[in-house]
Amino acid sequence: MEDDLINEEWTFPGINYDKNIKIVNVKENSKSNNLLEFMKSIFNDETTRKIIIKGSDRACHKVVSISELFKRTCDKVIYQINNITSVLENTDNVNSENCKKIWKRKTVPTLWILLSKDELEQCSLRKIQKTVKGNTDFENWIMHTSFVKNSIENNKQKKKLKRPIQREDPDQVNPWARKKKIKTSEKK
């Protein structure tokens, strides 16, 4: 299996690596109930502060589902960080007719979700999402990750508008006004 061959270590921005954090490995055909019960038993222990859920390739959506289900079940405030790592994998297919090997390149993404009871202070606000009894503030996250303050357009200096043309005599006819078009039939 692909998951057995690829051994990746988790990396989250602002969090030091800790061997003691339990990692729940989600496969494509994992049973959600079993994993949820396992996570509950771990998380109810007071010494456990963090859990990592991991899944790669086709199990990514199941990782998200399990984390959402767990957050809905848990009564406490949970802080979450998400990260994705990717590995390039070369697969060789032996074409029996031509006896040639065809190398195919494939990207295998791995989704990591860190759930923490404690507040994560070292991470930037745009990376963290806070969940209270299964409710997550999406608009707050959008505000934090907003680029309006830092956008390039705001840094550009606005062009100054030129002053309107002032004439000495206000009754003077505008010399640049469009001249009335005379039709060809009227030219006689």
């Binding site: 990514c60 959402e68 994705i84 990717s86 295998v108 993404p109 999406f138 996250w141 830092n150």
Partner: protein, 124 residues
Amino acid sequence: MDIDNYDVYRRETPKVSIPEGKIIYINGKSNLMYLIDRCMKALERTSDSVTFFALGAQINKGCLVLGELQQRYGFTLDFDIFTKTETMIDDLIPYVDDEDIKTRERFKSAMIFRVYRKENFLNK
């Protein structure tokens, strides 16, 4: 709930309005390379950030997009990932005329991620 005597009509997921940046919705028919090209074009030309929405099984495709972007442009691009639960509403229309139309709610997991340039690589 027993659905044997009902036709199930699924309502469309309401879309969120975000004031700035490009928004791309990933569905089952989206091509992977097309999504990546669309993202890169938006970043090169018009937008400072690109926001992807992926729902349900399309989270896998969203992760693939992120993986590819990381492989190719991981040095210059950065990603923010958000996960949440979407409420889906189905209308159950009965075969028998006597009964009323019912409504049921389902939950679906959704992933929203934002792709933007790192601060060192912004053109100023």
